[in-house]
Structures are given as structure tokens and as C-alpha cells.
């Protein structure tokens, strides 16, 4: 079984169970905060006068425990990290917003969720913080238009994790974060001893064992490493339905599950030039024509609106493909024939990009279908595999007539629709934003 569960990834009123689950998660969240003492603003404010470091201890224990479990599960191949929401990085608005939050924290004595735990247990200051929060969020909505450009663009890096920033394996970052947290716990306890006059000898000895367990788990995460692209590719599953018409009865609908290789063998991901062309005029989908040939071939001839990403550079655009385009994006891969497009398909599918298809027969087949009347294009004698099968008088790119077929001339095209739009999470719908 693959996690996160696909049925829980899309949250909507049409699937009420997701609401119940999120309410339970929220319940556990509020319960934990209250039992840790976060309903009392004095405990929170004490953090910033070094007398009690409860905020730091709870927060960093939670972050490190969740991080080790998360990347452990990812490393073991149980959890698909590309389906885990990672807050996109907006450096400028993030840092300024963070500084403002810090001021609000020490002035008000709470952060938003702790004020909920406080308000619900009858603390009047917690309630007022919560109501102030509604006013603050409202004010932000009212004033955001004055700095919209800065808010949406300044320091934007998209989905970016620390291992990518430092160019080291994610397991190494996990180990470093744990070491940093343990050092902070030690330092925090020393500060409590000095400023809070706390007797550390009364602290449970078990915490040392806990620290060692955490460190050992981090080392294990580093040792497990990340699952290879091939492992991830082999775990991908597709479902397709087949409808068998019955005489005098309702048709039988079977749901079939295919592995990625079976999808290729059964040619379920190959779409005809006609379907690829018609996708452009289908309101339900947002097709991206991804041309994985060399730049030279692309310059000779390419389909209108096609984006050129040579196969060897494909992995560089995977993070963008995972985070940027809208959920109804359909990626249509093409090479001259099919060889390069198939290996591009394997890379993208293994990286959990959804709705990826291959142009059947590649650009050569496209020309054979839409450009058969174009006399400037001559067939090349015996082209090799995945080579252009035509001779071009000039590198006109997409300025040949067949690059952008007329929607009027080709209004009626027969094809068997292979594209089954699969709507996963709306990428803008996750997170707090």
C-alpha cells in the first residue's frame, strides 16, 4: 500500500470522511498543545526570557520526531514524498512575516494554535488573542493588494528543501538537524538552570536515552537513503476501467490495475496525433507538449507551443512539473519516434508526475498525419531509430503549416481517447496558504 492514501489526499466536502479525519488530527493537535502547557501565555513568553524553554523543547522534539519518521518512511518506500505538501519558499514575505509574527508572539503571549488551546479552556487572554487574530487576518486580506507583486514574487523558489539548498543527501540533513536540536536542548537546559533557577538533577534520566534513540534513528535514515527512481517506478500503479456491453442488461464495468510497464506494453499511454491535437481545444485539460529531442531537431521542426527539454535535462524540470502546473495538466511527451519519449515517460512517472502521455509514433507520425500534403517536406531515406524521417529545407521551427493544424479543417477527427484525466491534489490547496 502506498501512503499518503489517495482517497485522503483530495479534501473536499464531497468526501466527508476527509473532514472527520482532519477534525481528529486537529483534536489530537489541540489536546497535545494544551497538555504541554501551551494554554498558559506565561509558559510561552518565558521562552524569550530564558527562564523556561518549554516552547523550544516541545517544538523541536516534535519537528525532529516527525522528520525522522517521515524521511524514514520515504526511504523505505512506504511514503511518496512527492505527494507530501512541502511549503513553497517565498523568502522575502516569509522572513518579514516571520519577524512580525515574533513581535506578535511576545506582545500577545500566544501563537495562533496555542491561543485556541487557551481560549477553549476559559483563558480570557487566549480568547482575545484569537479574536485579535481574526482582525489581523482580515487586515492582511484588505491590505495585500498594495504589495501583491512583492508578496507573490519576491524571493520565490517554489518547492525547495534543505538538502537541495546544500546539495547533500536528505539523510545527512536529518542527522545535522538532530544534532543541532540536541545541542539546543542541552543549551536550553543550561539556560533554565542559570536564568530559571531550575534544578536539573530532578529531570528524568530517560531523556538521555531518548536523545540517543533519536540520533540512532537519524543515522538509520541516512543509511537507508532515498529510494531509487527505478524502485519508485516499479511501485506506480494505474487504474483503468473497461466497459463490456451486455445484451438486455447494464454494461459490466471492470476496474483494472496496471503497473507502469503494463501501461506501456498495452499502449495505454500512447495517444494518436489526433488526440494530442484535440487536447488543445478540450476545456477540461491543460496540455503541455514536452519535446524531449535535441535542440537541433527542435529548431528544424516542432509542434506549435511545444516546450523543448532535451532528455538529458529532464530531471532538472521534475520539481517544477510537480509543483507549478495546475492539477488538470496533461503532459504529452514526444521524440522523433518513441524511444526517447518512452524513457522520458519512465523518468516522469517514477518521479510521481501524473497525467503523462506519449505521442504515438512521435513527431514523424505527426508529420505523416498532419503534414502529408506539405510538398516542402521530403521523406528521408531510411532514417535510424528515433531520427527525423524528413528532410527540411530550413530550420523553420513551428512555422510549417502542419505544426499548428487548423482547428476548422480538422474539426472532425476520429480517435479512441486514451487520456484519463486524474485529478490529484490541487497544488495550491495544501498548506496554510
Amino acid at each position: 500500500m502506498n501512503f499518503p492514501l489517495p482517497s485522503l489526499v483530495t479534501v473536499s466536502a464531497s468526501n466527508p470522511w476527509t473532514y472527520v479525519l482532519f477534525a481528529v488530527i486537529g483534536f489530537a493537535f489541540g489536546f497535545t498543545l494544551e497538555m504541554s502547557g501551551f494554554g498558559d501565555s506565561r509558559k510561552l513568553a518565558a521562552q524569550f526570557y530564558f527562564t523556561e524553554m518549554t516552547v523550544l523543547k516541545v517544538m523541536f522534539t516534535a519537528i525532529t520526531v516527525a522528520m525522522v519518521l517521515l524521511f524514514g518512511a520515504v526511504g523505505l518506500g512506504i511514503l511518496d514524498f512527492s505527494q507530501v505538501w512541502v511549503n513553497p519558499t517565498y523568502l522575502a514575505s516569509g522572513i518579514l512575516g516571520g519577524l512580525i509574527m515574533g513581535v506578535g508572539f511576545i506582545v500577545g503571549g500566544f501563537c495562533p494554535t496555542t491561543s485556541l488551546a487557551s481560549a477553549s479552556t476559559g483563558k480570557i487572554d487566549g480568547m482575545l488573542f484569537m479574536f485579535g487574530g481574526f482582525v489581523g487576518a482580515f487586515l492582511f486580506g484588505e491590505t495585500e493588494k498594495y504589495f501583491d507583486g512583492w508578496y507573490t514574487n519576491a524571493g520565490y523558489y517554489g518547492r525547495l528543501t534543505l538538502d537541495q539548498v546544500f546539495g547533500i543527501p536528505v539523510g545527512a540533513v536529518v542527522v545535522i538537524v538532530i544534532l543541532m536540536a540536541l545541542f539546543m536542548f542541552w543549551g536550553g537546559e543550561q539556560l533554565e538552570r542559570i536564568f530559571g533557577k531550575k534544578d536539573l538533577s530532578k529531570e528524568p534520566k530517560l531523556r538521555v536515552a531518548g536523545a540517543m534513540t533519536l540520533f540512532a534513528a537519524a543515522v538509520a535514515v541516512l543509511a537507508i537513503g532515498s529510494p531509487s527512481l527505478e524502485d519508485k517506478y516499479n511501485k506506480v500503479e494505474f487504474t483503468r476501467t473497461e466497459t463490456i456491453p451486455q445484451l438486455n442488461a447494464d454494461p459490466i464495468v471492470n476496474t483494472l490495475t496496471y503497473t507502469a510497464d503494463e501501461m506501456l506494453e498495452n499502449r495505454l499511454v500512447f495517444i494518436t496525433p489526433a488526440e494530442a491535437f484535440k487536447a488543445k481545444y478540450n476545456q477540461a485539460m491543460n496540455p503541455v507538449y514536452l519535446d524531449v529531442r535535441s535542440e537541433a531537431d527542435y529548431n528544424l521542426y516542432h509542434i506549435e507551443d511545444a516546450v523543448n527539454v532535451p532528455l538529458e535535462h529532464l530531471t532538472e524540470v521534475v520539481p517544477v512539473l510537480l509543483s507549478e502546473p495546475p492539477a488538470n495538466t496533461v503532459i504529452i511527451l514526444m521524440s522523433n519516434d518513441e524511444t526517447a519519449a518512452i524513457s522520458a515517460w519512465k523518468t516522469l512517472v517514477g518521479s510521481s508526475v501524473s497525467n503523462v502521455y506519449i505521442l504515438e509514433g512521435g513527431v514523424n507520425n505527426w508529420i505523416a498525419f498532419f503534414g502529408k500534403d506539405d510538398e516542402t517536406l521530403q521523406s528521408a531515406p531510411k532514417p535510424g531509430d528515433d531520427q527525423l524521417g524528413y528532410i527540411f529545407p530550413a530550420a523553420l521551427g513551428s512555422r510549417y503549416e502542419s505544426c499548428d493544424p487548423s482547428p476548422i479543417e480538422y474539426e472532425k477527427l476520429e480517435f479512441e481517447a486514451k487520456i484519463k484525466l486524474q485529478l490529484k491534489r490541487d497544488k495550491s490547496g495544501g498548506g496554510c496558504g
Binding site: Q47, L128, A137, F138
Partner: protein, 183 residues
């Protein structure tokens, strides 16, 4: 049921229990956070719900104002229901969860938590102001201590770590100037 003194008396008269050890609380919170990611792919949060509830109220009071405010339009424009989002049940769940923990541990009582040298009224004003400031910053940073620092911290999101340090930096830098509220 023994209640030691009258000011210790909570609603429902349950005896007040001490808070759990911070490291234990952190481990439980970390497991909750991991399970949220593991099952749904989403972390924890709450400030997003605040602005969604705001948007829902504006949508009822003055729908035309939603159409003129880009920020609200994203949540409540057209036939969008601003409350149809995972973070809204988390918000109300957290309210109930806090209440439940307060109930079982005898901590349900009307009171004001404050430093020893300020009046209740000053504390109330400061709590309200702090809420205004915090949520303004939280919406600017696209998440608060839960949605960014906790959830983003655990997934190693680069921007979230920057935000986390900014929060602590902002609070430590201001702490000296507001010390009479707390010390």
C-alpha cells in the same frame, strides 16, 4: 475529589493535574504531525482557517467586497466555499482538543494568564494586539508556527526554516522592550 483551595477550583470541579514533560509532549506532537503527513500528505496548521473564516463572513456580509479584494477572491470568489478546506476542521478540532485536555486535567477555568506586574485590562489589550500582529504576519508568511515552523520544519522546507528563525528572532528582539508585561 479534593480541591486544595478555592482559587484552584476549575469548572466541573476536577482536580488540576500538572502539565506533561515538554519532551513527552513533543514526542506525542511529533507523532501526530507525522501521522497527518503519512495519511493525508498534509501537515498541521491553523492560521489559514482564521482567514478562511474571515472570508466566509465577508462573503455573507458583503459578497461584492470579495469580488474587489484579490486575496479574498482566491478563497471565496464565485462558487468557492472558503470553508471547504482541510484546515477548517483542523481549527475546530484543535479547539475541541484543547477543551478536552483542559477538562480531563482540571484546567477549565475562567482566568487571565499574565505576568505579575500588569493589570488584567492591559493584558487583555496586549493579547488582542498580539493576535492582530501575529495573524497579520502569519498570513504574510503563508502560515504560522504550526503550518510553517512545525510542518515545514519537519519536511525540511527551506522557506519554513527561514521563517522559523525569523519568528524566534523577532520575538527575542522585542522581548526586552515588553519585559514589564511578563517579568
Amino acid at each position: 475529589m479534593t480541591v486544595t483551595s478555592s482559587n484552584k477550583k476549575s469548572i466541573f470541579n476536577r482536580p488540576e493535574k500538572p502539565y506533561v514533560h515538554p519532551y513527552f509532549g513533543g514526542i506525542v506532537l511529533g507523532i501526530v504531525l507525522f501521522l497527518a503527513f503519512f495519511l493525508t500528505g498534509n501537515g498541521l496548521g491553523s492560521s489559514g482557517a482564521t482567514s478562511r473564516i474571515d472570508a466566509a463572513i465577508v462573503d455573507v456580509v458583503s459578497p461584492s467586497h470579495v469580488d474587489n479584494t484579490p486575496y479574498l477572491l482566491k478563497m471565496a470568489g464565485g462558487d468557492k466555499n472558503p470553508l471547504d478546506d482541510w484546515i477548517v476542521p483542523v481549527f475546530f478540532g484543535a479547539l475541541f482538543g484543547g477543551f478536552a485536555s483542559g477538562f480531563f486535567n482540571g484546567r477549565l477555568k475562567f482566568m487571565t494568564t499574565k505576568g505579575p506586574n500588569i493589570s488584567n485590562r492591559t493584558r487583555w489589550l496586549m493579547a488582542f494586539l498580539g493576535g492582530v500582529i501575529f495573524l497579520y504576519g502569519a498570513r504574510m508568511a503563508r502560515g504560522c508556527t504550526s503550518g510553517q515552523a512545525l510542518s515545514g520544519g519537519a519536511t525540511l522546507a527551506a522557506g519554513s526554516w527561514a521563517i522559523m528563525f525569523a519568528i524566534f528572532g523577532g520575538a527575542y528582539a522585542t522581548a526586552y522592550f515588553v519585559r514589564k508585561f511578563w517579568l
